[in-house]
Symmetry: C2
Subunit: 460 residues, 2 copies
């Protein structure tokens, strides 16, 4: 432990990065089949770091590693693995080892682990659990994926409204099934509806004969069990909650979500939006070449359709280009600037939607703003490119055409960047999903068309 | 409260979005100057929601709103505002009101609020604080921005190693300066070095005569006070920490960071990466048109330089284009596909760096993978575009040129997408910062050059 502290005392960029030295040593031990030494190496590592290590070695090394480890595989390591690697590992992990590994996991981690498994494998895991845990996991699996019901844990601490501080403390002292982490005692009425919560710190500093209802916070928020994970994460971040009770349709307490789980979801959602905007699905560094190729293909294919559309627009003006070849030289500039400006607007819009900052109250203001920003930058760049076009080719009117097309395309880019994601959202489609392709289609088509049509009209 | 629960029970997409109705009612009250009614409307709202509301109305409405509110302005609302709006509001907020508003904030929120203020305004806020708080804030400001020292709060609960559970509980019962939220009691040695922590739940369920050292967790992680915010957020997410002690160079306890603050940082960093990748600075929906225009300008200007570079490459082949105008029609396809594939690789690389998944141990494997994926998709799309080029223009060799250029550019795109961010990181530059421009420069230049040079060689 002391070593770890000293190492961390160096606040360099590489904090928390697995040292290559460790990976090498681990691989050596795996190759040598030295199980005892391997265990010593892994002992100081957090499960999340062991999972990272497994993700950084090759599939063959991973298999050798896990085979050597055998029954010492930690369920938490499995639950920390990225989906792709986890799937791969679960394919060859012997059933008895898997069953053994999941036994000590909290139920929400078990749910996370088995929700993507095939039925027979799920059975193996469920059978390994104690009755109470198995029932909790099975219930959680009945809620739709990516809802509060899947994210919550059923282990929670509650007390009836008539208890005093002393009764609650005595209960906590003697109860043997308390969750590993809890920060509040939920106060529930006889129908199991939460009416307040008492933070542990408050409980501890109050006198024994004080009724819980006198010190409970009643301005807590409950999470509906069918609420999307994404909204749950948003609420934790927005309202600085540490844990929140989850309730069913009748407002009865069914579980609790803690901030560490919400933080994980927030991080995943941000990653998802970032990936979608770049035309990427749910890929990870550990996916194989063939899988990654296949994952990226549809996005590139969509882009190809866009590109051909743009080509068709250009082909309308073949004769114009043949007589003024400078047009072919300059036309990508208008399209490229439009694509860039459109991506800027789009990214701002997608992020604002994720943070619920784009609402009915300000949507028109934001659309107006994007149009004006597009127009303003369009005018500035029109002057610049117009000037360059003029000086480069010595034709003033070529500069004018370039400038006019630039203004038109940046204005359109600003509008497309905000209107397309709003439209997709209204249609119930994730605005990050295909907006990028649509926005570039618009800016490419408008960019080439505006430039070449203006050139045909003015220069010929 | 009951109303709130019922509203939340509808797990629709609009959960937690401010109702336009509320914004309208608030604006009506502001216009009517009805302060009492305004306060009633705001009363059930969380400070974060009031801040969101302020961000969604116009600057003039905002000013009228805050003027009407006067001394009732909540310091937490100020601390929840986005930087741009906060700066605007602080310009006209009377000093006495500002001083009054910050009094009840936790010291870490005060630090967050005043770190961007001008010196005279900082003084006003600092003077309003109690001595202990002022000293804490002044100390925090001595640490560099975006480090653990700025993020931590100094309010923490600690106990010496020789205490028993009973002594700790008695202390917590009587202490009157406990932080608003705390989850652990830090155990420190006589030199103030943390040696363990006891979660409140554990403290509560242990017997009074048990020594704290017998129940403390000693596998906690300490955060060096100079560690970057980003690494702090990473550690909380990676290791599922709820709070962590912050230590100085001599390993002495100087503060504590809680997960809610780390969650905020994680969210901001993800936003920053997403924005940088799209060529956006630190802008928000509330920025004015002129400001947004100015913010986006440099990125578009960088893109313009890239676009002109591409134009110069094209102009090298003017005569070729003049004799085969189909080249002008098809050339954007190669560049566009390369740009797209490059952005895919780049985004995966930037994200992998942020999550510390790209390390010395797997960097060569990942580079190889990107090259192979680029090659594989390049081959597939070469066949497709080659075929289309052939059928469209009836020239088999034109299809061959298009296909060859496609393979070359997608291979280069894959390599540029991974090598450029790695290079920038090695140079100590944020890989998300300018990678996008560099990658598209490479794919545009290589795309146009490969296609036109091959065409000149093969078709002429």
């Amino acid at each position: 432990m002391t070593d770890l502290n000293i190492e961390q005392q160096d606040p360099s960029d590489d904090a928390y990065v697995l040292e290559p030295g460790i990976v090498d040593s681990v691989l050596e031990m795996v190759e040598a089949g030295d199980r005892a030494h391997l265990l010593t190496l892994l002992e100081p590592l957090h499960a999340a770091d062991v999972a990272d290590l497994l993700e950084q070695i090759s599939p063959a090394e991973r298999r050798a590693f896990l085979t050597l480890l055998g029954t010492e595989i930690d369920g938490e390591v499995l639950s920390e693995l990225s989906d792709g690697v986890r799937e791969e590992v679960l394919e060859y992990l012997p059933q008895n080892i898997l069953a053994d590994a999941v036994k000590d996991l909290e139920t929400d981690d078990v749910v996370d682990l088995i929700e993507d498994m095939e039925e027979p494998q799920q059975e193996v895991v469920l059978d390994a659990l104690e009755d109470a845990d198995r029932i909790a996991v099975e219930r959680a699996l009945q809620y739709p994926e990516e809802t509060a019901g899947r994210l919550m844990q059923r282990e929670l601490v509650m007390a009836p409204t008539h208890w005093t501080v002393g009764q609650a403390i005595d209960y906590l002292r003697t109860a043997d099934d308390l969750p590993e982490r809890y920060y509040n005692v939920m106060i529930v009425d006889p129908r199991m509806r939460p009416v307040g919560q008492v933070p542990l710190g408050k409980l501890m500093s109050s006198k024994r004969d004080v009724p819980l209802t006198a010190i409970m916070q009643d301005d807590f928020r409950t999470i509906p069990v069918l609420q999307s994970e994404e909204d749950v994460a948003y609420a934790f971040n927005q309202y600085h909650m540490v844990s929140a009770p989850v309730v069913d349709e009748d407002d009865r307490l069914v579980g609790v979500i803690t901030i560490d789980d919400a933080m994980g979801v927030l991080d995943e959602n941000a990653e998802e939006d970032m990936m979608l905007l770049a035309g990427l699905g749910d890929e990870s560094l550990t996916d194989r070449v063939i899988e990654t190729t296949r994952q990226r293909f549809p996005w590139l294919a969509a882009n190809l359709v866009t590109a051909f559309l743009a080509s068709m627009v250009i082909s309308l003006f073949s004769t114009t280009i043949q007589s003024i070849v400078a047009l072919a030289v300059l036309m990508p500039i208008v399209a490229s600037m439009g694509g860039n400006a459109g991506t800027q607007s789009l990214t701002v819009a997608v992020r604002a939607m994720a943070t619920k900052d784009l609402t009915g109250a300000n949507v028109w203001r934001v659309i107006r703003r994007e149009a004006l920003v597009g127009l303003a930058n369009g005018l500035v760049f029109a002057v610049i490119v117009g000037g360059v076009g003029y000086f480069w080719f010595g034709q003033p009117m070529l500069g004018v055409v370039l400038g006019l097309a630039m203004v038109a395309n940046l204005l359109v880019a600003g509008l497309a960047g905000i209107l397309i994601p709003i439209g997709m959202d209204k249609l119930g489609v994730d605005p990050a999903l295909a907006s990028g392709t649509f926005v570039t289609t618009v800016t490419d088509v408008v960019g080439f068309f505006a430039f070449l049509a203006l050139a045909s009209a003015i220069l010929l």
